[in-house]
Symmetry: C2
Subunit: 426 residues, 2 copies
């Protein structure tokens, strides 16, 4: 605990220094960090090898081992990402509003760094450099707590960046890594009020819920995505097929992948079977409610290419499940209002889309669905800092306070009021 | 617990309806609520009498009894405040940004209600109607938990407003009051994730810290104000006297009152004694560090009107104390940088001011002091929604996330992205 307090004080001091760096200085530090990552690639790869060996010894799955693996190409990618952040506009110092009161007081609302950002993540070592660069560019110090499976890789990446900062005259404590992995340290990290201004958990729904439950520091929830596609009356079958296929199968393990189809009764016999047949190209299993199951059975009788073996009956819990797999639930509704009710009940408030030719339905859906990103005739997969044009992303907020949806540099800032007077009193 | 879940569901349903009300409808509901408060003034006064009697039986102080008391005039004031909120611009629906991506996706960032706002407060029954009106105008349902000392008054005010809503065809559950006052209910209220989107505690530092520690729902901290005035080298003695006197004594019990003077060594023998003498008109006791104590003793020897009986030596804890009383600490520093360091260490990040003729010092101070509102040559007492021109205020955030400084209607909103496509996939 003493150690964490010490880390917290170092982070606060670093944050105080970062607050007064110019954009040019911050960019110089980021470019130096990127260069150092490439120059020290072999050290990082050596450290990563230990994590990989430990992972194999623990029978980690090939998928997880692949996410953990660093090689020269991937380290180059990490360095390029840091350079990309250097090239983005600096949000700090932007004057958002400015006005004068009748008593002559002049008020400015100015964008400033948050201060110290805590990030808790799992076994992807590239998050170490990504999170650092986004936090640094927006003027914040970071305290990182990565998963134990990547502890050597994260340590090596952090050491290289800290070395580059210090060699170039910047505070190395702008990046602090918590190296103990015990449970107590993690819990204490979530309660560093006064030292950590915000905690952002990145990873599984379980990790995120643990942080929400145990943290006394403000948390921005990210990532959980039980995303819906609603097929409205009259929706275009070709568009529906393409969007459903893309949103479900282009990348199954991501939070903006679609997990549930909500289908207007009028397109149960037409668009739904066509879409399911397309999904079956990737062996997607659909979990259909009674009515949709009936419609699909009927369609399969007429079209033997539609495989009944990939169609199952939905249980209630399917509608609340983020599969992150080649699986999708199907719910039948009788109106856009009913679709909205179903989605607001089961969604994780991440991303939902309506496919419809009817603009009034689209606007109703976009206004009434209580999610961060609500689409009309587009794939949910676009909920992403890069796709939105933010250049970089620290995560996707499913929270409603402070930041909602993809979080870029601006979402790691806060504001302050600066008020100029000439002796005013009340 | 079951009861709270039931309240939560009712609040969520009400919030869903409020989301689609027009500005005109919301204003009509607010005007009807204001009229009802006046029409039912006698009922409210009767209920208030019970609270007052109970307060007297418990030997509540006259000051607290006065804050608790409702009479026709005060109820008229509450109604007028609700009408004032009706007259403010509606922030919901504002399009904050709008852009088109190279793939043709059109993105809009739109201001929307947060949903369900929870407010925990102490014994001021006017908060019941104030909080309701600000939340309602910004499209939110509120769940209120007032202090047990005002339970009958709050219940009467809530009943009158709920009746007015329902009679006029609006969801009465836009205002829900938790009527149990036991500790367990309060704790459960802080953990209604999924039902309550944000909790705003209003009251003593102790109440606020209890909410921060126990809540799993996002919290916006408000109110604690250990506010500083820094007297820089060369500051104008007359301005300093007026601002210090105003910030310390105009109203001692409020969060934006000044609690601490930080004094540049060069004005210890000039501005400080003059300011302290002015404070002594209200019998303010100053707790001075060694150097300032010496300077004041010397000044008192030359000027018998400066009363040494009101000057004491500061202990370390004085610098961290929000007195809310006719008391003020004094710290001596050698530079603006040292002043900034002292303030960032001891402040509650609320409001601080620098008195200086030097613009470079003022800008450095405004940038480096980590507080919500940083003034140059003005009283800290201006940190207030009304003084900022927001028209109404739900509290003053000392948090860094979501809202910082005075919170008006906009601070009770969040944003969502609405994205229009023409079939785009990734």
């Amino acid at each position: 605990m003493e150690q964490l307090t010490e880390l917290g004080m170092r982070a606060r001091r670093a944050a105080f220094s970062l607050n007064s760096l110019t954009t040019e200085e911050k960019n110089r530090a980021l470019m130096a960090s990127a260069d150092a990552l490439e120059a020290h690639a072999q050290e990082i790869i050596r450290a990563n090898r230990t994590d990989i060996e430990n992972g194999r010894a623990k029978n980690m799955s090939e998928g997880l081992l692949d996410r953990l693996l660093l090689n020269e190409e991937r380290i180059h990618g990490m360095a390029e990402a840091v350079r990309g952040v250097a090239s983005l506009p600096d949000p700090v110092g932007d004057v958002l509003e400015e006005w004068t009161r009748p008593n002559g007081l002049r008020l400015r609302k100015v964008r400033v760094p948050i201060g110290v950002v805590g990030i808790i993540y799992e076994a992807r070592p590239n998050v170490t450099s990504d999170a650092f660069s986004i936090a640094f560019k927006s003027g914040n110090a970071v305290i990182l707590k990565g998963g134990s499976d990547a502890i050597y890789s994260n340590g090596a990446v952090a050491d290289v960046i800290r070395g580059a900062l210090s060699e170039n005259g910047f505070p190395e404590d702008a990046l602090l890594l918590i190296r103990s992995t015990d449970h107590e340290t993690t819990t204490r990290f979530m309660q560093m009020n006064g030292y950590v201004d915000v905690l952002i958990p990145r990873g599984s729904a379980r990790l995120i819920q643990a942080v929400v439950r145990n943290s006394t520091v403000p948390v921005i929830e990210t990532g959980a995505g039980n995303c819906h596609i609603y097929l409205d009356e009259g929706c275009d079958a070709e568009m529906a097929k393409a969007i459903i296929f893309n949103a479900k199968t282009q990348r199954i393990g991501v939070c903006n992948a679609a997990e549930s189809l909500v289908v207007h009764r009028s397109v149960l016999d037409t668009v739904l079977p066509a879409a399911v047949k397309k999904l079956q190209e990737k062996n997607v299993i659909v979990y259909a409610d009674e009515e949709a199951y009936g419609a699909l059975t009927k369609a399969a009788a007429a079209d033997p290419a539609l495989k009944l073996s990939l169609i199952e009956r939905a249980a209630e819990e399917d509608f609340g499940t983020e599969y992150l797999d080649y699986k999708m639930s199907v719910k039948t509704v009788g109106s856009v209002e009913e679709a909205i009710g179903h989605i607001n009940r089961y969604s994780t408030k991440h991303s939902e889309t309506i496919l419809t030719p009817d603009e009034a339905h689209a606007r109703l859906f976009q206004n009434a669905v209580d999610s961060a990103c609500v689409y009309w005739n587009a794939s949910t997969r676009f909920t992403d800092g890069g796709e939105f044009g933010f250049g970089a992303e620290i995560g996707i907020s499913t929270a409603k306070l402070h930041a909602r949806g993809p979080m870029g540099l601006r979402e790691l800032t806060t504001t302050k009021y600066q008020i100029d007077g000439t002796g005013q009193v009340r």
